[in-house]
Symmetry: C2
Subunit: 173 residues, 2 copies
C-alpha cells in the first residue's frame, strides 16, 4: 500500500493535478519506490472516492487540482509512524556478484567498471537534485541518502573491480 501513501504524502506537500503528481512522483519517490505511471491515476481515483483527497478546483480542459483532507492527513501520518516499513530488499545487480567467479575475470572486471560508471552518473543526478526545490519539506533527507548511496556503490564497484583484477593476476603468477 506504499504507492497510495506516497501519493497522499505528495498531495499533502502541495495541492496538485494528476499530471503534476505523476511528474513529481517520477522525479522523487520513484527513486526509492519503483511503480508504473499507469498505476497513479487509478490510485488517485481511489483516494478521492475514499475522501482522503478532494477537488480544490478545476482548470482549463477539466484538469482537476486535488488537495488533502483532514482524513487524508491523519492516514498518511498514521502510516509514517505506525506501520513497520517493508524491508524486503531486491538488488538484481548485487545478486549477480555472487556468481561473478563463474565468468572470465576480465569480463567480471569490465562488468564492475561499467557498474561504477552507472553509479557515478546517478551520483551526479542526485547531487543536482539536492540543489533543486525539494518534493516535500523533508525530501532533503532521502536525497542526501541517495547521494551517499550512489557514492558508496561507485566506490564499492571500483574496489570490487580492483579485487577481481588483483586476484586474477595473483592466480596467473
Amino acid at each position: 500500500m506504499s504507492l497510495r501513501h506516497g501519493l497522499l504524502g505528495l498531495i499533502a506537500a502541495r495541492p496538485t493535478t494528476g499530471y503534476d503528481l505523476a511528474k513529481s512522483f517520477e522525479a522523487s519517490l520513484a527513486n526509492v519506490w519503483a511503480a508504473q505511471l499507469s498505476q497513479i491515476y487509478p490510485e488517485l481515483g481511489r483516494l478521492h472516492e475514499q475522501g482522503l483527497i478532494r477537488v480544490l478546483g478545476t482548470g482549463p480542459r477539466q484538469k482537476k487540482t486535488y488537495e488533502i483532507t483532514d482524513e487524508g492527513l491523519a492516514e498518511v501520518r498514521r502510516w509514517v509512524l505506525d506501520v513497520e516499513p517493508d524491508r524486503a530488499h531486491r538488488n538484481g545487480a548485487m545478486l549477480r556478484t555472487f556468481f561473478l567467479w563463474l565468468v572470465d575475470p576480465a569480463e567480471a572486471e569490465a562488468y564492475l567498471r561499467r557498474e561504477a560508471a552507472i553509479h557515478r552518473g546517478n551520483l551526479e543526478r542526485f547531487e543536482e537534485m539536492a540543489g533543486r526545490e525539494p518534493a516535500t519539506p523533508s525530501a532533503p533527507l532521502p536525497v542526501e541518502w541517495a547521494v551517499r548511496y550512489c557514492r558508496e556503490l561507485a566506490e564499492w564497484s571500483e574496489w570490487a573491480a580492483d579485487r577481481v583484477r588483483d586476484e586474477s593476476r595473483a592466480a596467473r603468477a
Copy 2:
C-alpha cells in the same frame, strides 16, 4: 527470473540438497533478493526437469543431492553477463522519510534513531558473515557491500536524526 538463476548459481558453487540450498539461500542471497522459502522447492523441480541440474546421489530418507550440468553452467554464465540487472528499487523505510515533516519532530527523530539502531545491528551481522565461509567464491564482494551499506545507512540515520532535532530547535528559538 532471478531466483531461478540465484539457485542455479548456488548449486554451481557446490552440490547440495534442497534443504541445504534453502538454508544457504536464506543466509546469503536472501539479503539482496527477498523470496519465499516456499518458492525454492518448485523452482528446484523446474531446474531438474529442464536438465540444468541433475541428481548426483540420494542419501538417507531419499534426500537427493543435486549438481549443476554443463547446460546449467552455461545458463547461469549467460545470465551473469548478458542480462541487464533489474534496477527497479523499493525501499519502504526511505519512502517514508519524504513525509517525516508531517509528524511531530520528536517522533521523527525517535524514528530515525530506531532506524540507526536497526542498521547498526545489521552491520554487526554482516561483519560476522564476512569472517565465515563464503556462500560462493565471489560472495566476499556482496558481503563487503552489505557491510558498507549498513554502515552508511546507520550514519545517514544519525545525521538525519540530528538534522530533524536541530531544525526543530531552531524553529522554536
